[in-house]
């Protein structure tokens, strides 16, 4: 399997022979799965394949030339920044070009104006390191510090540190995109200047095309440069300590500390998080699934299952630990103020402080997201939605109820309702539902569960993430907007009429449901006889 010779030659002239290959061995290295995010699923097996060729551009001009060549020869392509995101960021059709963005690593930082401009090959890890050196920080997305900043900012992008800034799209400033037809679109101040410091449109804001709460997996173009906001932090150093696997940032506790509180009930949990938001204190607040704590405590998989085996529905129901990160942005006195207010809040609900190590192993550098796979070997977050606190309160338990019907193959988690936190100082609540399974089990129910969650959200009138990228567009489309899918398809059709940019997204999940035998039973919605896209 390879792309057309003429196309290959033309592409080779852009980057040189060193940075393009159609060798099947090298292409095999770019296969999605079998391990990874949302891997070991029917979607991955049915919808992905190794690329026909891989190319490594260096500049925006390279990308533009590549896209134009692909247009000329009708070569499908997928932009790929690290490949971490699982099957949906890999090749879906035959003879597809995978555009590996890792050589695009330009990085600028303006610490006076609190922003950095990056190319897609820059991950959060070095960005955060550079920010911390200068008294700033960014929100490293839950996916981990290894994810591409650009990819995360146009698809997901939050963590408990989003307490104050909230929605990830708010952090995007100027952006440069190579549209599917090869035109370059610069947004924000980049539209008129060589400086990406501001992101709003000149008039209407075309950043609306980049994402919609969550993103569209690069099917509307390739972001080649993105500026994002850095948040002011505090001046003390967070020293990396420990030898792998026990590394972490030693926190200067006069200016940064994590505090764990045990509270008597779920309502108390919600109240604490709500009041913290309302009091406009703290840098992060979250309640994590109990099994994450077990992962952090144990040395390996078997030990995890020992620990986890001790839990039950009872213990889950009674596990109410809220984690709070205090940051002394202004001064030590401000830190003391925050802590006094926090203690007032916790006291009001009858909570107690639990011992907490003065170390951050998770969110600030987020070096441990890979631990999600320790337990079972396969994992996906089926939904992660910022809405209101009441929405978050019930969304997780609703998922847990549905998931129980699919356990096994899902991991036994005794009905844990998932991860919650608050955003934008409590104006929103957040719930994320994560599922885990053993890839060697029958994974068909995983695929079926995925679609059932969309139906559950529609029926119970929840908002949901991953609209347009992960769920059947013709299932969710009519029910949200309504008919958001028609606008999305119109915009897709306008900018990529030949559907060469990451086909068949955003109809990939619809296509999957049509192709996979075990999905037929889930299909109870209308789709057109022919999905409105060219056949690959």
């Amino acid at each position: 399997m390879a792309i057309r010779k003429e196309a290959y030659k033309a592409l080779e002239s852009v980057v040189g022979s060193e940075f393009i290959t159609d060798d099947p061995i090298l292409c095999e290295g770019y296969r999605s799965g079998p391990g990874g995010y949302e891997s070991a699923t029917g979607y991955e097996r049915v919808m992905t394949m190794p690329p026909g060729a891989v190319i490594l551009p260096r500049t925006t001009e390279d990308v533009q030339k590549i896209v134009k060549i692909c247009n000329r020869y009708k070569v499908a392509y997928v932009p790929y920044s690290t490949g971490f995101y699982g099957p949906r960021s890999h090749c879906h059709v035959k003879n597809e070009l995978l555009i590996d963005m890792k050589r695009m690593r330009d990085f600028e930082l303006d610490d006076k104006h609190w922003y950095a401009a990056v190319q897609p090959g820059v991950t959060y890890s070095p960005l955060q390191a550079e920010c911390l050196k200068r008294g700033g920080y960014v929100v490293v997305g839950g996916g981990g510090a290894q994810v591409s900043v650009v990819a995360n900012m146009i698809c997901d992008g939050w963590s408990p540190l989003s307490l104050r800034i909230g929605f990830p799209h708010r952090r995007i400033l100027g952006v440069e995109v190579v549209l599917p037809d090869g035109e370059i679109l610069r947004m924000g101040s980049l539209a008129v200047h060589d400086d990406a410091f501001w992101g709003e449109g000149i008039g209407p804001d075309l950043r609306g095309m980049l994402r919609g709460y969550t993103g569209v997996l690069g099917c509307l173009g390739i972001v080649t440069k993105l500026a994002l906001k850095i948040l002011p932090f505090q001046p003390e150093e967070l020293k990396p300590t420990g030898i792998s696997p026990n590394t972490g940032l030693a926190l200067p506790v006069n200016r940064v500390k994590w505090l764990n509180f045990q509270v008597p009930s779920k309502e108390a949990e919600t109240q604490v998080m709500y009041e913290i938001g309302k009091a406009e204190i703290a840098g992060a607040v979250t309640k994590v699934p109990l099994f994450w704590r077990a992962i952090a405590k144990t040395e390996g998989k078997e030990e995890f299952w020992d620990e986890w085996g001790k839990e039950s529905e009872e213990t889950i129901k009674n596990f109410h630990i809220v984690r709070v990160l205090l940051i002394g942005f202004t001064s030590e006195a401000q830190m003391r103020y925050d802590e006094a207010v926090l203690n007032d809040i916790v006291k009001e609900v009858g909570g107690v402080q639990r011992p907490t190590k003065p170390i951050d192993q998770s969110w600030i550098k987020n070096a441990d997201s890979a631990g999600m796979w320790l337990m079972c070997g396969a994992y996906v977050s089926v939904d992660y939605i910022i809405e209101s606190i009441p929405h978050a309160d019930t969304h997780g338990p609703t998922y847990a109820k549905l998931k129980a019907r699919y356990t096994p193959p899902f991991m036994p988690d005794y009905g844990d309702p998932g991860w919650t936190m608050v955003c934008e100082a409590g104006h929103q609540g957040y719930s994320e539902y994560l599922v885990y399974w053993d890839p060697d089990e029958d994974t068909n129910p995983v695929d079926q569960f995925y679609v059932e969650t969309s139906k559950m959200n529609i029926k119970d009138r929840y908002y949901t993430s991953l609209l347009g990228s992960h769920q059947p567009l013709y299932l969710t489309g009519p029910k949200y907007g309504p008919n958001y899918h028609e606008w999305l398809l119109k915009i897709k059709g306008e900018f990529d009429p030949a559907w060469i940019c990451h086909p068949p997204v955003p109809l990939a999940h619809d296509e999957f449901v049509e192709r996979a035998e075990w999905m037929k039973s889930t299909k109870d919605w209308e789709t057109p006889d022919e999905l409105p896209m060219p056949k690959w």
């Binding site: 104006h113 609190w114 929605f167 799209h169 708010r170 035109e183 679109l185 924000g188 539209a191 008129v192 200047h193 400086d195 410091f197 709003e200 449109g201 000149i202 008039g203 209407p204 804001d205 075309l206 609306g208 095309m209 980049l210 994402r211 919609g212 709460y213 202004t330 001064s331 006195a333 401000q334 103020y337 006094a340 207010v341 007032d344 809040i345 910022i386 809405e387 209101s388 606190i389 009441p390 929405h391 969304h395 100082a425 529609i458 119970d460 009138r461 929840y462 609209l467 347009g468 969710t476 029910k479 949200y480 907007g481 309504p482 008919n483 606008w487 999305l488 915009i491 306008e494 900018f495």
Partner: protein
């Protein structure tokens, strides 16, 4: 059937007008734009009616100009190609105040006066731009990206999910209000983003060209328990910016505002014209206003730590800045300004219009360090045009940790004097070009600014037109604005 007749079929008869005296009122506003007459005025009462009017207009190729306020400063609502004025005045309900989730849901016709009075009763507030006109639509001011005086919220804009009628006539909900059955849903409409794409971005800054927003959810905030308003007299703008670069990233202050003597005098003057001349002459070149507030919990302690921090910074690094709770020579200014900052403009004549009858505002987003340069650019051009510098109003609004700022120049003029208007129009154009060349970023290209900016941002304009064409294939939605 006449247009009026047809529209009366859609909305009630009382909600359709085409008398000359009514049409004239919509044909002009407080901007420098030339007048333009609509053909008819429609005042729908429901989203369905809005949708029906828009569908009718689409079918009949008649322009629609959405109007949500009774006062307009920028010319967007002057019909450029005739058509129907879609006045949202009847859609002025506060649909919901949700104190738990700290949000309101308001229709497009809800005014600042109306909303602030209602929220006041519940000890809540919505963050505000500087002294909004009391009769302006809150929804539209936020859609048009007015910049808030409050610098402390990282999340900036209060907008959440909204409902829009697209130019094709479809009613669509953006954000989490898109859930079927909303508001009878688990979703409360707090998320502006999605579904699928960030549709709400397309209508922001759109000057009514991308659709008619019928209602929106907005974040509201708790009212502080304690407020300390502080002032510093500033001669050197660059030095003021150094100070703001130092303190704002430390999350100091609620409202932080920088006004020159002309603007501040315009705001403070009660007795015109005598007090104005005195104030303008006596006020320092710039006044930095910082409100330090204590919130719901331990308010005194919050004020204390912020004051302690400020004191230390001033003692050690900014001895030349005297930040006090009163501006020397201006007794009572604190109380007066604090009240002004938390409410819409209280008087009948808008503050910008008190002096000469009208003012033209030229504003953009800038890096704060560049503001002294922009000041000298505009002053030089103003002088060249014979515009007296002692009549040049200036306002700088720091944004989010001083990562950027809104910079605004106010040119005051007599709206009855054609030559003055022409002078200011030309002056403003030339200044805009020079400012753009020097790094200023115009996110709200009203009037002449549109052509200047879209020419330079050709790629952006081209993509924008492609999007516009999808939503408004016949270009009926407020044509003649922006690049449409």
């Amino acid at each position: 059937m006449s247009i009026k007749d047809e529209l009366e079929q859609i909305v009630e008869k009382k909600n359709v007008r085409d008398a000359a005296e009514d049409l004239v009122r919509y044909s002009r506003d407080l901007s420098l734009n030339p007048p333009g007459m609509p053909e008819v005025i429609v005042r729908p009462e429901t989203s369905q009616q809005v949708a029906a009017v828009v569908r009718w207009a689409g079918t009949n190729n008649v322009p629609v100009v959405p109007v949500s306020s009774s006062t307009h400063f920028h010319g967007c609502t002057i019909p450029k190609q005739g058509g129907v004025i879609l006045d949202m005045v009847n859609m002025n309900r506060i649909l919901e105040i949700d104190e738990y989730n700290r949000k309101v849901c308001i229709e497009a016709g809800v005014t600042w006066r109306q909303l602030t009075e209602e929220l006041d009763k519940r000890d809540m507030r919505v963050i505000m731009p500087l002294l909004p006109h009391p009769e302006r639509s809150v929804l539209t001011d936020w859609l048009e990206r007015e910049v808030p005086t409050n610098t402390v919220y990282d999340y900036g804009e209060p907008m959440q999910s909204l409902e829009v009628v697209w130019p094709t006539g479809e009613i669509f909900r953006a954000g989490s209000a898109s859930v079927n059955g909303y508001p009878d849903s688990k979703s409360k409409g707090t998320n502006p983003s999605g579904p699928g794409l960030d549709f709400y971005r397309f209508v922001q800054g759109a000057q009514g060209t991308m659709g008619v927003v019928t209602w929106t959810n907005l974040k509201i905030e708790s009212k502080p328990k304690i407020d300390n308003i502080l002032f510093a007299a500033i001669d050197d703008l660059g030095r003021a910016q150094d100070f703001l670069y130092r303190i704002l990233p430390r999350r100091i202050g609620q409202e932080v505002v920088l006004l020159n003597n002309v603007d501040l005098a315009t705001i403070l003057t009660d007795k015109w014209p005598d007090d104005f001349e005195k104030l303008r002459a006596a006020l320092p070149a710039w006044t930095l206003i910082i409100v330090i507030s204590g919130l719901l919990r331990r308010p005194e302690e919050k004020v204390a730590y912020e004051m302690e921090f400020l004191g230390e910074v001033i003692r050690n690094e900014f001895k030349d800045i005297a930040l006090t709770d009163n501006l020397p020579g201006f007794p009572g200014i604190g109380k007066k300004l604090l009240s002004l900052l938390r409410k819409p403009w209280p008087k009948e004549v808008y503050w910008k219009n008190q002096w000469k009858g009208a003012a033209h505002s030229l504003f953009f987003i800038a890096k704060p360090s560049a503001t002294p340069l922009y000041k000298s650019i505009v002053e030089e051009i103003a002088e060249a045009y014979g515009y007296a510098l002692e009549g040049l109003g200036m306002y700088i609004q720091p944004i989010e940790h001083n990562r950027a700022c809104h910079m605004e120049f106010n040119f005051f003029y007599d709206p009855e004097c054609a030559s003055e208007k022409a002078l200011i129009k030309s002056l403003s154009c030339e200044a805009a070009k020079e400012l753009l060349n020097s790094g200023a970023f115009f996110t709200r290209p009203y009037g002449d600014l549109a052509a200047i900016n879209y020419e330079r941002a050709g790629g952006y304009a081209s993509a924008l037109k492609r999007i516009k064409k999808l939503f408004d294939p016949n270009n009926i939605m407020n044509p003649g604005n922006l690049c449409f």
